[in-house]
Symmetry: C2
Subunit: 435 residues, 2 copies
């Protein structure tokens, strides 16, 4: 006989993450906070309804792979090349300041030169900005197309890439038998192979399927298969993190014109199953008895440093690029929020032994705090008059909403037609039977 | 350290099922045949690239739950009540004939009164029609709205319900310590509870969410959670099969006006991950060494009986309802194809010990054969002139295609607007920097 507990677990996970996500959204907080909270409440730290199972862990691993793949899909390579200079400087200083501070903080609480990699890992967790919350807030306020808004978008992109490089370097160095030279060689080899192989695979698929057909689903499933393959090859053959492989797969595919459809399909998969399982498995990893006074202090400092370091680092970068003081603060605040990526990296750290479970609680708290604080601070620093460009942008957003309504209307017409079809059939049946 | 094999497995499963599905579709065969073939080729019967893992089994169990949930969502209860009489008779005889013959065939090859339940189980596998292939073929030919087409639709619906009742009865009786009376009582209790509880939950959700909002995703995820909960409760509390619970959950939710959206979300989840894993796990269960001469003979007879019994049974039912001879043959042929449901039931049989792995190969062959043969035979028996009603229906289908194109156009406009937004931002940024 089988055990059916995993079905119940999935039911509880889906319901809890969604209901709490809806609740946080209602009080103008990001849904990710609710989902995280749900995971914490269900986990051993609170109700203890969930325990870590292999099934949940593997499902959550698929979840992070799909999340990073989608992030890769949404990377606009052309935009990245264009925004270039200033964005790069903002991102670089905005990565180095939290990295240095995080490493120092970890060294302070758990001294010892032999733990250097572990200390660096805490620093790496602090680097990756999750820009989605900022983008949502700025779009709502009609401020996305300002000079500072543009700088934030560009810097967040480069920030992602730098974070991935940092993570790749540190996980590769976790194996002490390998020299740093081999590590770098392997990483370089991976990126070259991914690029060449990806382009080749892409052309092959195009030729086989013979251009855009009616059934576009095939591309989504095949792209996902490609992403999983990249993740596996990256991890097992090159010692590069699997999520790096997934991210690179996304960037490769982002150069095709079917990206929107593939991304929406992958988001569907995430929303319906994988993402809730990821948050639940995060929650299941946070254990309360480990929260000693020292850890509580560490949590508070980590949280504060996460917020301050981005404002200082990115603000400094912006200042060097001659942004106004007001813009520097706006850019710094816009880069505060850490989201899924920090959690994914921390998760990876536990899997590779680079982070002990003790530090998991503080990281989760840091992510939740930065995510909550960002929209509040953004509203404060963006107060004031709008310029003409902003208005134009708001108009465009309104236009897009109209087109979306048009789509909905088309869907309704479709439904009506379906009903007509059905009724017509029934009618004809009864009339022909009467004859 | 973790093992990453499951990621590679998922990559291979997704790529193989999709590529072979595309190949079978190109030669006008249903995609399900290709997916099944992919499972067989990957499994131990052929390449041996896949082995049964707990992860794959649990993912495939989630897959069948979602598939049966979607089937429940698509059940039109009103239509079922209307088409009533004739459809019920066609379905009933069309279920009894294969059931009796299948049971007899199994008894012949593996005699013994003590195996009665096992023999009945082979019969039950033969009962469930998978009407989707017939619907697709008839729609393509513009024959869906004919008298026989209507009869097929109605009968297939009732056929599904009868199959579920049969499966529920037989799996419940598999435990010899329970009396048939208790079994029936439990089943009745389950259906009453599901109906009352489902209605209550439905009203509660409606009140909490306050009518139709913009973010319709919440309903899809919550519905899926409800489906998983029903599946678990059915299996663990009532001894009713989990897939019955999922099907009932789908029927309960099918009474709401959000069904189309929920169904499309669940289909997305199936297409992108769960359904391929289900076919792969089916393939991984077919073991070649078990295919002795006796089993090969059994396979052939099972296949032939699967085809003949539906033509005879459903045809007889149709004749009793005074359909013309030509229509009787059309209805019988339309009911031949068995699909996912037969595989799901067989899967369940192995899990509960009601079927030995030996019979799995024959069942898979039977499903593949009936699925392939149905569209070919349908084209033969529907040859001839169309009537006015058919033309009207074809027009409506064309209309629907037009509306779909409209939707695509709206999507393009959206994309253009997105680009305009982006370019506008870049332009403003550069111009404001020049000042």
């Amino acid at each position: 006989m089988e055990s059916y507990d995993f079905i119940l677990s999935v039911a509880i996970i889906l319901a809890a993450t969604k209901l709490l996500g809806m609740a946080t959204k209602r009080i103008a907080m990001p849904q990710v906070v609710g989902a995280l909270l749900a995971g914490l409440i269900l986990g051993p730290a609170c109700l203890g309804l969930l325990r870590e199972t292999e099934f949940l862990n593997e499902l959550s691993e698929l979840g992070v792979i799909v999340l990073m793949f989608t992030a890769g899909l949404e990377t606009d390579v052309k935009e990245l090349k264009k925004s270039g200079g200033p964005a790069f400087l903002i991102a670089l200083i905005g990565v180095l300041v939290p990295l240095a501070g995080g490493t120092a903080l970890a060294a302070l609480f758990h001294p010892g030169k032999e733990f250097l990699l572990q200390h660096l890992f805490i620093g790496v967790i602090l680097t990756a900005t999750s820009v989605s919350i900022t983008v949502e807030t700025l779009r709502e306020m009609g401020r996305l197309s300002t000079r500072s808004g543009n700088a934030i978008l560009g810097a967040a992109l480069i920030d992602d890439v730098l974070g991935i490089v940092g993570l790749t370097l540190i996980t590769s160095m976790a194996d002490p038998t390998v020299s740093i030279f081999t590590v770098l060689l392997k990483i370089a080899a991976f990126f070259v192979l991914a690029l060449v192989g990806g382009m080749a695979a892409h052309r092959l698929v195009d030729r086989l399927t013979g251009g855009p057909g009616r059934d576009r689903r095939r591309y989504a499933v095949l792209s996902l298969a490609f992403c999983m393959l990249c993740a596996y090859i990256a991890e097992v053959w090159f010692g590069v993190a699997d999520i790096t492989g997934a991210y690179v797969a996304g960037v490769i595919i982002s150069n095709t014109n079917r990206t929107t459809y593939i991304a929406s399909k992958c988001e569907g998969l995430s929303d319906m199953l994988l993402s809730p399982c990821f948050f639940a498995s995060i929650g299941a990893k946070v254990v309360l008895p480990h929260m000693t006074l020292s850890i509580v202090l560490f949590s508070v400092l980590l949280m504060v440093w996460a917020i301050v370091s981005k404002i200082v680092g990115c603000g400094l970068g912006a200042k060097l690029c001659r942004y106004t003081n007001r813009e520097c603060v706006q850019i710094g605040v816009g880069m505060i929020s850490r989201g899924e990526v920090a959690l994914i990296v921390a998760n990876k750290g536990i899997a590779t032994g680079l982070m002990t479970a003790t530090y998991f609680g503080p990281v989760v708290i840091m992510v939740a705090a930065t995510t909550i604080v960002t929209p509040i601070l953004l509203k404060l620093v963006y107060k004031g008059r709008k310029d003409y460009g902003d208005l134009l942008q708001t108009d465009l957003v309104d236009h897009m909403e109209d087109v979306k309504d048009l789509e909905d209307a088309a869907q309704s017409v479709l439904d009506i037609h379906t009903n007509m079809l059905r009724e017509g059939e029934t009618h004809r049946e009864s009339s022909s039977r009467d004859c």
